[in-house]
Symmetry: D2
Subunit: 250 residues, 4 copies
């Protein structure tokens, strides 16, 4: 029976900034988008310009910030995502981004004997390559299960059963492949997300992480169009999606 | 007529994390506090323990994270505050904290001729000291106004009136005192706020920033009691409030 | 007698990265600049390209990193500066940069009765404006001294003399002007310094911090020409210096 | 023939802070350790206490900073290490630390067909477990080589040979195991290193990363004894080394 490969990451929005305007400050804006309201509010505080002397709409105001490179203002808004169905090589690239907070499934603690595998995009439509990959990832999981069993016996003297499991699993995981599925919660402010998308939705990015970045971008474009609307998504030569920002500053 | 001193900072919550649990994951918790839900959700993902094998309530679960020092999990929740009525010496201390985002009233752009002054807590109840301070802060604002006038004349050749104002104000501000009021929007995750409160609500902190930290703490204890409830607020010898955390880890 | 204004910041290099190549790795480069050696070494590790397949000189190699935006590699090198003769308004802007480490003279602890004042660049050559500023900054220091005296009397019940001084000084400083001199040690990696110089040596930057950024840049261009050589320093309309980078990425 | 397992990480110091005291400041200290000199210098600047009113030796002075939790001062000193002979699961844990700079061997670019494997410490002295692991890691590398070959054929239409290699390798790496050796250059300041060692040399840390942390600690204790000397290294029940700090603050 064929391995049930994972073909696509699953990206789910968990949280995005809400905003309660302070009742003691007189201020009006033309959007009901809370994250964009907070950004405009914070920006206007710097200049005490709540009376909107230039008569800008919220989207214009934020566009101006992005165009001028006043990006610290968009840091007040943030978003959290649940990212599932990605490989451990993809998560290794993701967690290199240092301006985010992460909570990731731990291979030291979780039993990976039934872990699913993520198919690299480049293997789509190539049954022979998939067969090569499937055969060895299956063998890896079997070896993992055998090692866990041996190591739990070896650590039989450890009284605490959860410590015993941890000692066995953290060593046995060494034979698991990069393709092994992982999941994480990833939180960051809008400036960090703009940087992530710029780097990882680009055509130079690796194919799997690019899918994550595109999925994140699509959600953020819905959630805060004034902050992410300048990114254009287009088809690459190979049919995959890539995105590029309209504004240069980071 | 006496200067209308500012006696207390004003701290207003602008935003705190909301949470939408993903519909495809089966999970129940006993709190309806959204920030605490997100924290528990992220923590449980690491161990794939959504079935709650230890039968912990949400507050217990978070208490366990704090006690063990697993503080990265509380980073998924964040809060934004509007902080008004603080002096520039206080804001100079505040912005030294590098894990926050700030938007602050700019003395390069804003007209400070009518700026209010913040009374240092130690001058409360000492009319003579207040008179000394008032006399010189008033003289400083007058000197500021005269310098702005001279400099705008000096920069008469600059066509753009807003640039001309900026050039005048950014130089004239040099005579404004530390007591000059400022305001800022300050955003950070719960781990950063715990660190801020630990450092700045302590008895060793400067009196004005301590008031800010105590005001922040009181709001966060309402908003996320499981995350900030271990801090105890007490009266210091001099009648002011100080706070100390129950958990040691940062 | 005229106040002895400070006219220029003083920027002194305290430390810059040294490098010991590991004896077990065969590798040659054409520079004896240690910071640039470390950067090339770290970059080559990523591709296991110590044999230099493209035959690039060190400066070319680093230029390629900067042009491609592979800026994380230049983070391995860092520099520390002693920055003296700047105002407290300037230091307030400086410490907003969150990727640096700072140690700054504390107005809570140090006696500022004899503090010197920093002349805003825009007041150069304007004796009348200087007279306005001098008169009020002198009055501020006198008020400071009187407040310290009163507060030390008020805190006579505090046994610890250094605590008593701190309580007095941290309140009395509220009347000191932005022009008051401060000094700090500032440490950051080369990526952070490139960002600082880009933002603060630009023509849009405030005049005093621009002088700091230009002074830092001149030293770093000597210390690591391959990393900072793309910045061009030119005269602005008003005779002051501004700088712009050759490479776009941050 | 048996796989040549890697049994230990190799940790090599590449760089540590040097210091040039500014000639215009009168100051003496009793150490010739440059990193410790810089730390004392920066600390003394905050209080303008270059005359050493308490008569403290350098090591005492730094011990006092650590005891009081004034840890920002030790951030001025930094160290870079080359870390080799670690597994990809170990590097995945390492790069979660966000206050460091990293340059790591890229599996997207480098040919891993001859990659060596890191033996998990728990498999030492268990030839049967090693045989299980060896058999499957060898199969993984063979599958990797076959996939690279197929994918380079599939990407034959890509003109640029280095892009073609990258496309093949970044997909084929999905079958490589966690045990695959990697190497990285890791740079951070002394505060970040103290945190890393505290977390990763503890008895709760995973066995392989603990070895890295202990090796780093031993070098830093030589390089800057006043900053790292409070850590005590001892033997754990299982014969491995663990370390604990003497000072509580982070």
């Amino acid at each position: 029976m064929a391995e049930a490969w994972i073909h696509e990451p699953r990206v789910t929005l968990l949280a995005v900034t809400q905003f309660t305007p302070p009742s003691h400050i007189e201020w009006e804006t033309d959007t009901d988008n809370p994250a964009q309201q907070l950004i405009e509010f914070a920006g206007r505080l710097c200049y005490r310009s709540f009376h909107n002397p230039s008569g800008r709409a919220n989207a214009e105001y934020i566009g101006h910030l992005l165009a001028q490179g006043h990006l610290s203002v968009i840091e007040h808004a943030s978003a959290s995502f649940l990212i599932e169905g990605i490989s451990r090589s993809c998560s290794h690239e993701i967690v290199r981004h240092r301006h985010f907070s992460y909570s990731q499934v731990s291979q030291r603690f979780v039993n990976e004997a039934e872990a699913r595998m993520v198919l690299p995009p480049a293997l789509e439509g190539d049954p022979e390559a998939q067969a090569i990959a499937e055969s060895v990832t299956r063998a890896s999981k079997e070896a993992y299960a055998r090692l866990v069993e041996r190591l739990r016996a070896r650590y039989a003297h450890v009284d605490d059963p959860s410590l015993r499991r941890k000692l066995a699993r953290q060593a046995a995981r060494s034979v698991l492949p990069n393709a092994t599925e992982t999941a994480l919660v990833m939180t960051g402010n809008f400036r960090a997300w703009r940087h992530f998308v710029r780097m990882r939705a680009s055509e130079h990015a690796e194919a799997e992480i690019r899918r994550v970045a595109i999925a994140v971008l699509k959600i953020l474009q819905e959630q805060a169009p004034a902050v992410f609307g300048d990114f254009t998504i287009r088809r690459h030569d190979d049919g995959s999606e890539v995105a590029e920002p309209g504004y240069a500053y980071e």
